[in-house]
């Protein structure tokens, strides 16, 4: 099998995301400075040699908080993303492959869950929880974000189901579970991988949004909680940029890199989206000069694709 050709965009996005992940996981060991909850200065002290990004409203080191916060946010992202993808894939496969009554019930449930805005359910559920641990919040986010994955997986399952190799598997006496796992699921894996990436990013942003509303994790610091406190203590309006710019930039970078990752994966899996290459193939088959696409445009796209 030919190995997938990732664009430059893919490697850039992966590098950004990995750098953040390394900072979150190994950062506290490498830069062994302050603990996230340790008081090192006063209200909004500027960046200094002891606290590289200054201090927050409680006099805690922003850089130490940032590493711990990124870790919490990523943990929530991975747990919630994996949970949501798992539920979505199972529900989608069951509905799409089984059909009939099971399909009607599951699809109905999925559609109702899709229609109710997830932020509403998130607010109501997290407000009802007495304490919000990191894992609890991740599971709550997972429980509200699986429906669109389920819908897409169901749609693809129904189309894969009609292919001939499924009939062959069925005629040779394979059990349903084995058909779904070995003959249907592999065809969806490229989609599932992309959905997982988007779910991670969605979960991280959902956590940040909840934290900003005052419904974040109660047992630690996350990027959203840092933003929450810096807004509540007016760091923006007093110009203490070190308190709010780092979490803002980190959240943006996480979201941007994950979206780029997803869209470059999409280009690898869906050849039709690769415009430059598609046109060149056409030009090659038909002969130079036969298409209306100017060669310069094609070249520009090739360059763009490699640059990304």
């Amino acid at each position: 099998m030919r190995s997938a050709r990732f664009s430059g965009r893919f490697y850039i996005a992966a590098a950004i995301f990995l750098a953040i992940a390394i900072l979150a996981v190994f950062g506290p060991m490498i830069f062994n400075g302050h603990h996230p909850g340790q008081q090192v200065g006063g209200l909004y002290d500027g960046p200094s040699s002891s606290a590289w990004l200054g201090t927050d409203n409680l006099g805690h080191d922003v850089f130490a908080n940032l590493m711990a916060g990124a870790r919490t946010s990523l943990e929530i992202g991975f747990v919630a993303g994996a949970g949501a993808t798992l539920i979505g894939v199972v529900v989608g496969l069951a509905a799409g492959y089984q059909g009939g009554l099971v399909d009607n019930i599951l699809t109905g449930f999925t559609n109702v869950m899709l229609a109710i805005p997830s932020i509403v359910v998130l607010i109501l559920v997290s407000d009802s929880l007495p304490t919000r641990g990191t894992m609890t919040l991740a599971l709550v986010i997972a429980a509200t974000s699986w429906p669109w994955t389920a819908r897409a997986v169901r749609a693809q399952t129904t189309s894969v189901k009609t292919r001939e190799h499924i009939d062959v598997a069925r005629l040779s006496g394979a059990r349903t579970v084995s058909i779904v796992a070995w003959d249907v699921l592999p065809y969806l894996l490229s989609y599932v991988a992309m959905a997982f990436v988007l779910q991670i990013s969605g979960a991280i942003l959902a956590e940040a949004g909840l934290s900003l509303l005052g419904l974040g994790v109660s047992d630690g610091v996350s990027l959203g909680i840092m933003l929450h406190w810096s807004l509540a203590w007016e760091s923006v309006r007093v110009g203490a940029w070190w308190a709010f710019v780092p979490p803002t930039v980190l959240l943006t970078l996480i979201a941007f890199s994950l979206l780029m990752l997803q869209s470059s994966l999409d280009e690898v899996f869906n050849p039709r989206l690769r415009r430059g290459k598609l046109r060149r193939t056409v030009a090659f088959v038909v002969g130079p000069g036969a298409t209306s696409a100017p060669e310069a445009t094609v070249a520009a796209h090739e360059e763009l694709a490699s640059e990304r």
């Binding site: 009802s128 949004g209 415009r275």
Partner: protein, 336 residues
């Protein structure tokens, strides 16, 4: 006939979703361990604001109002009856104030902020995306990368950065609120100009992200369409670019209409936090205060309004889709 069946089917779906949302909205706050009324009343007592007789009155008022002494089913019935009369209950934190009144005050601000942002962002984003897809080259590169960046940026992140840049670092716009401190909402020139100057930052932070999202979606749809057979055929026939663009635009537009409905939902969620950043006097700030004061009736009322708004927007878009896309109609009517 087909259209009617399609519309009725959709209506049934959304009613089902609404009922599910109502049940969620009703049950979740009641799952909180401990009686919320007791918690609130003891809070009041600790604050020293109210004592003895007064506390008892407040407690009986709440218990009676929620029917907490009745069974769950009849409580739900009371809840529905109150809703049907537009009664959203009484605020815990600002005791005699009705939630309805608080919402009525906040809602116009939110709508005035979001509706123009949604419509302008949608139109501009779609045109930008279509042009980027067709023109290609440096325009496409710049438009696509900046759109992707903007659309991936959470609303509140852009809001915070804009606030810092345009109101604190280079103070050209006011930092917070919906209007200047000394003025009060009225139909006067000074109030309107003050409201307008406070409007720009939150509006910009919403509309930029929205334009980005729409442009990215439109661009990839249009590129997909540009590679299709009818475009190649049209090019082979020597049709002018303008006409091909029109065909492509019409076909790529369909999913964007659906995208509009979906983004209304995310925009509502995103705008809640945007309002917080700018202390804009809308639903988002009301919700934030409600959460920080454990004001369940306010939270419930707002989540209900958001749900109804999103369900309504989705339904309207489904109806529009049914009219403009015959394929959807026949597929749905045939399936169910």
């Amino acid at each position: 006939m087909k259209l009617r069946r399609y519309l009725l089917g959709k209506l049934a779906w959304y009613l089902g979703a609404l009922i599910a949302a109502l049940i969620l909205n009703f049950i979740l706050p009641r799952l909180v361990p401990g009686n919320p009324v007791d918690a609130i009343v003891s809070n009041l007592a600790r604050g020293g604001g109210a004592q003895g007789e007064q506390l008892k009155n407040i407690q009986t008022h709440y218990v009676h109002q929620f029917g907490l002494d009745q069974s769950m089913l009849s409580q739900f019935w009371t809840y529905l009856k109150n809703l049907a009369h537009g009664n959203l209950g009484t605020s815990f934190a600002q005791y005699p104030a009705s939630v309805r009144g608080m919402v009525d005050q906040a809602l116009p601000w939110t709508i005035a902020l979001q509706l123009p942002a949604i419509l302008i962002g949608w139109i501009v984003g779609n045109i930008l995306g279509a042009i980027a897809a067709f023109k290609a080259g440096w325009f496409d590169r710049g438009a696509f990368l900046s759109s992707l960046f903007l659309s991936s940026m959470p609303y509140y992140c852009l809001a915070i950065l804009l606030l810092y840049l345009l109101a604190v670092a280079y103070p050209v716009l006011p930092t917070s609120g919906g209007y200047a401190f000394g003025t009060s909402p009225e139909l006067s020139i000074s109030f309107i100009s003050s409201a307008l100057s406070h409007y720009w930052l939150p509006f910009l932070s919403l509309v930029l992200v929205f334009i980005g999202g729409q442009a990215v979606g439109m661009r990839s749809m249009a590129i997909y369409e540009l590679g299709s057979d009818y475009v190649n055929f049209g090019r082979g026939l020597g049709l002018p670019d303008k006409r091909i663009v029109r065909y492509v635009f019409r076909n790529a537009m369909l999913p964007q209409v659906t995208g509009l409905a979906l983004s209304v939902g995310t925009l509502v969620g995103g705008a809640l936090v945007t309002e917080l950043v700018f202390s804009y006097p809308g639903i988002g700030s009301l919700l934030f205060n409600g959460i920080s004061q454990n004001d369940y009736p306010v939270i419930q009322g707002i989540t209900l309004i958001i749900t109804i708004a999103v369900l309504g927007a989705n339904f309207i878009v489904d109806v529009i889709n049914g009219f403009i896309d015959p394929r959807i109609r026949s597929a749905e009517a045939g399936e169910r």
